[in-house]
């Protein structure tokens, strides 16, 4: 009996759902065209001049779950300012890349693609491929004629410009300028200065100093619990500067923690087969042999790293990472104990900081060949607005007085050399999110001016002053310490003909480097006996061919030219 009842209930519910489910039209669904509007839909009803028919632009966009792009305040701003009517095809983040690929592959694509970079983007290869097939419209002329602010930003930021300009000189798409100062020096070392003070150790300057400090951490029981449970140095395997090796290797030879390429007067060279690399490994091995490096640093993920950092009593002496919140909770007392130290100087007098231009190659904004001239012009003008300070502020944050405000008396900007200009208004818990900004969909001009003029508390150990803490750390300890010439892997475009091979070679070579790095450090391979074989091994991986491809790409790039 019970079974029949539950079955009947299920069937009934199903019928109800089917009935409601089948009526697709009517309310605003994902393809929210405000279908009710008549064609002369200039939504700014009471504008003083007679509104010419707005330009309809079909646009594909990744939409966050709290957003509704068709009714979003910033959308309305753009529509009013530039006489546009957007026809949205919005996709949720989940499955967004697949949906974009389907849209392109089925030939069913819109005028404009507007993507959220960390969810999906057109890779350089995509841009070249689609650009050459004619699917994507190059933006050079549009920018020159209609987008003065975009032009300004491109000209003022050479890395950004090179990142977005293909070797054939065309700009097929744009990604966002994101001048994240502290992100561009990802491989920092954060040391437990509370322990240093307790053991009366001064800031280590050389590799020897550093080693002595780690030894003191290990043997002198700085956490005072009578057990030698301290972990002098740890890290993890993921991204955001958490690898232990680069900071240390930088005292011997430049390690960019990405391509392992170095520049020698315009010539592209490779670091891991050099004698300095070997010296670096010797040093790191000496730390490992004394138990100063956490063996888990080479296998654990961020969560496990955080476990070590948050342990009670404190266990971590030094942690590799872009910023300490990776391994320690900012709301805890412990988080106040970690400060960054500048790059160490090795016995050869070398001392570098890893520099990585913050921004990823590829594009999140693209205009397709389906857009007519009118649409192209209107769209580039709209984008141009985001490349102004006010435009970016609105696009990223929202409405003044609701989402952001001007600074009060006494509030200081993040960058001490700048005037404070804005800060966010924190929402109240339980508040419905405001649908006022494009947020990560509209981050194209996060210039150093924009970021630097945000208000930040001067208490750098509080969560409100965290950005300042990172800014100071970067400015004081890392900026300026990078090599004069770096291989600009973010700005270099690889020729599509060799891209497949390059991809394979890079994966093979990087795997080989990383694997051997650890084998030498942990001692399963000997730096005396096995080094030569290791170096020879690169021949088998066609290192020469790889460097050739990279050299060609470097020479062809518009970087610095």
């Amino acid at each position: 009996m019970k079974k029949i009842v539950s079955l009947a209930a299920a069937v009934l519910m199903a019928i109800v759902l089917m009935v409601t489910g089948c009526s697709n039209g009517g309310h605003a669904d994902q393809n929210g065209n405000s279908a009710a509007n008549p064609s002369s839909g200039a939504s700014a009803g009471s504008s003083s001049e007679p509104a010419a028919n707005p330009v309809t632009i079909s646009i594909f966009a990744d939409q966050d779950s709290w957003q509704d792009l068709p009714t979003n305040a910033f959308t309305k701003t753009l529509e009013q300012k530039f006489n546009i009517r957007f026809q949205w095809t919005t996709v949720p983040y989940d499955g967004a890349p697949e949906k974009r690929q389907i849209s392109l592959a089925s030939g069913d694509y819109p005028d404009v693609f507007l993507l959220v970079p960390y969810i999906d983007h057109f890779t350089q290869a995509d841009l070249l491929k689609y650009g050459q097939q004619g699917v994507i419209v190059p933006l050079n002329d549009l920018i020159d004629q209609y987008a003065p602010h975009i032009k300004e930003v491109l000209d003022a930021n050479k890395d950004y410009k090179a990142m977005n300009t293909a070797p054939d000189g065309k700009i097929y798409g744009l990604n966002g300028l994101s001048a994240c100062y502290h992100c561009s020096f990802p491989n920092k070392m954060w040391v437990n200065t509370a322990w240093m003070k307790k053991l009366q150790i001064s800031t280590p300057k050389t590799t020897d100093d550093f080693k002595k400090m780690l030894e003191a951490f290990k043997t002198k029981d700085p956490n005072g619990n009578g057990k030698a449970d301290e972990i002098p140095l740890s890290g993890s395997t993921e991204t955001f500067g958490v690898h232990v090796v680069p900071f240390l290797m930088n005292a011997f030879i430049y390690d960019d923690d990405h391509t392992y390429l170095i520049m020698d007067n315009g010539k592209v060279d490779f670091a891991p087969n050099k004698p300095q690399w070997r010296e670096g490994l010797k040093y790191i091995k000496s730390l490992y042999d004394e138990g100063l490096i956490d063996p888990a640093a080479f296998t654990q993920n961020a969560a496990a790293f955080a476990k070590t950092g948050n342990h009670n009593p404190e266990l971590l002496g030094a942690g590799a990472g872009m910023h300490p919140a990776i391994f320690v909770d900012l709301n805890s007392e412990s988080s106040k104990h970690y400060d960054s130290i500048p790059p160490l100087t090795g016995p050869g007098g070398v001392s570098y900081a890893t520099f990585n231009y913050s921004g990823n190659p590829g594009a999140s904004f693209v205009i397709t060949n389906k857009a007519g001239k009118e649409q192209q012009i209107a769209m580039i003008k709209a984008l141009d607005y985001i490349y102004t300070f006010e435009g970016q502020l609105e696009a990223n944050t929202g409405i003044e007085g609701v989402d952001w405000r001007k600074p009060k008396e006494g509030e200081k900007a993040l960058d001490p050399s700048m005037q404070a200009r804005w800060t966010t208004i924190p929402g109240k818990p339980g508040d419905k999110p405001h649908n006022n900004a494009w947020a990560q969909l509209g981050q194209y001009n996060l210039s150093s001016e924009f970021r630097g003029s945000q208000v930040q508390s001067t208490d750098i150990y509080s969560p409100d002053g965290y950005e300042r803490r990172l800014f100071d750390a970067t400015k004081n300890n890392y900026d300026g310490k990078q090599p004069k010439q770096i291989f600009p892997h973010w700005a270099v475009w690889i020729d599509p003909g060799s891209a497949d091979q390059a991809g394979m070679m890079q994966t093979n070579i990087n795997n080989y480097v990383e694997q051997n790095e650890l084998q030498f450090i942990t001692g399963s391979k000997s730096l005396d006996k096995d080094w030569d074989d290791y170096v020879k091994g690169f021949d088998g991986l066609n290192l020469k061919g790889y460097l050739d491809i990279m050299q060609k790409a470097y020479d062809a790039s518009t970087y610095g030219k």
Binding site: A10, S65, E98, Q101, S332, E467
Partner: protein
């Protein structure tokens, strides 16, 4: 006919074996139970406790933050209802279609069974891929409809094979022959003899298809656009993704988000798997020995 069976005392070896089995299963139980408890406890702890790795057995800093974050999205209820719909109807359709092809494949006198078998097994190994399949589904007009979750993956070759094996083993050809002589057609035979005797395999098919439907998200991801058609998994995943890498430009906020996400992963598992765990006991009762009545021997 009731018989008075002698109570034969079980030999020592047998009791030893039984004892060992009990011990082994108990160890398995504990080894399996502990991580499950860990997950549930984590889901009821605070974000900081989880990311700091402080949770071992019981919740640390007990809180409902994880659950609140999951249910914050009001569409969860829609998701549950939709998933229920897809699971019930999807499973029914799948079982029917599967049986329709599995039974004929199990009859040795069915000409072409080898060829048919190769025909369907081939699809298990080779597939057209994402885009070609999408184009077909689009051509058939199923995009953004409920049918998109009920049809394109309705039949799993794996299930067909298991069902076929069952029919082959437990419904011998002689039985079919016998009933045929009695004038029973294939269809009647299926309905009156095969199905009643197939309760265990129907239970397996039902369970596996139901679980598959309940957990499925990829098809919904690709074929659906309207959010009020979405199954539960899609909402749950979007919550996770949305919180994982936020567009905030401040590292402190980002770190906070990450902590919350770490916690939510556990709450999510509890929320999404509870229904599927609950149906298992209903299915278990079909795995009782001797479901096949002696009619087979007759």
């Amino acid at each position: 006919m009731a018989s008075r069976s002698l109570r034969i005392r079980e030999p020592f070896g047998d009791r030893m074996l039984l004892g060992m089995i009990y011990v082994l299963l108990t160890l398995v139980l504990i080894a399996t139970l502990y991580p499950l408890i860990f997950i549930v406890s984590s889901s009821f702890s605070s974000p900081a406790a989880v990311s700091g790795g402080h949770v071992w057995l019981w919740p640390v800093e007990p809180s409902l933050i994880g659950y609140r974050a999951v249910f914050h999205n009001g569409q969860i209820l829609t998701g549950y209802a939709n998933s229920l719909f897809y699971t019930v109807f999807g499973t029914m359709i799948s079982i029917v279609l599967t049986t329709m092809i599995a039974y004929p494949l199990s009859r040795r006198t069915f000409f072409g069974r080898s060829g048919l078998m190769v025909f369907i097994v081939f699809t298990m190994l080779f597939s057209g891929g994402l885009i070609p399949t999408y184009l077909v589904v689009k051509a058939v007009g199923l995009i953004d409809t409920r049918w998109a979750l009920l049809l394109p993956n309705a039949i799993w070759v794996w299930q067909v094979i298991i069902a076929r094996t069952f029919f082959q083993t437990n419904i011998p050809d002689e039985l079919a022959e016998a009933s045929e002589i009695d004038g029973c057609s294939d269809i009647r035979f299926i309905l009156q003899v095969v199905l009643p005797l197939s309760k265990p395999i129907m239970a397996v098919l039902a369970l596996m298809y139901a679980v598959g439907q309940w957990n499925a998200y990829f098809d919904a991801l690709i074929y659906l656009k309207t959010s009020h058609l979405y199954p539960l998994q899609l909402f749950l995943r979007s919550i996770l993704i949305q919180n994982n890498a936020s567009g905030t430009i401040n590292a402190a906020d980002a770190a906070q988000q990450l902590q919350l996400t770490g916690l939510m992963k556990y709450s999510l598992i509890v929320v999404s798997s509870l229904p599927v765990l609950v149906i298992y006991p209903f299915v278990q009762r079909y795995f009782v020995q001797g479901m096949l009545i002696g009619a087979v021997k007759g």
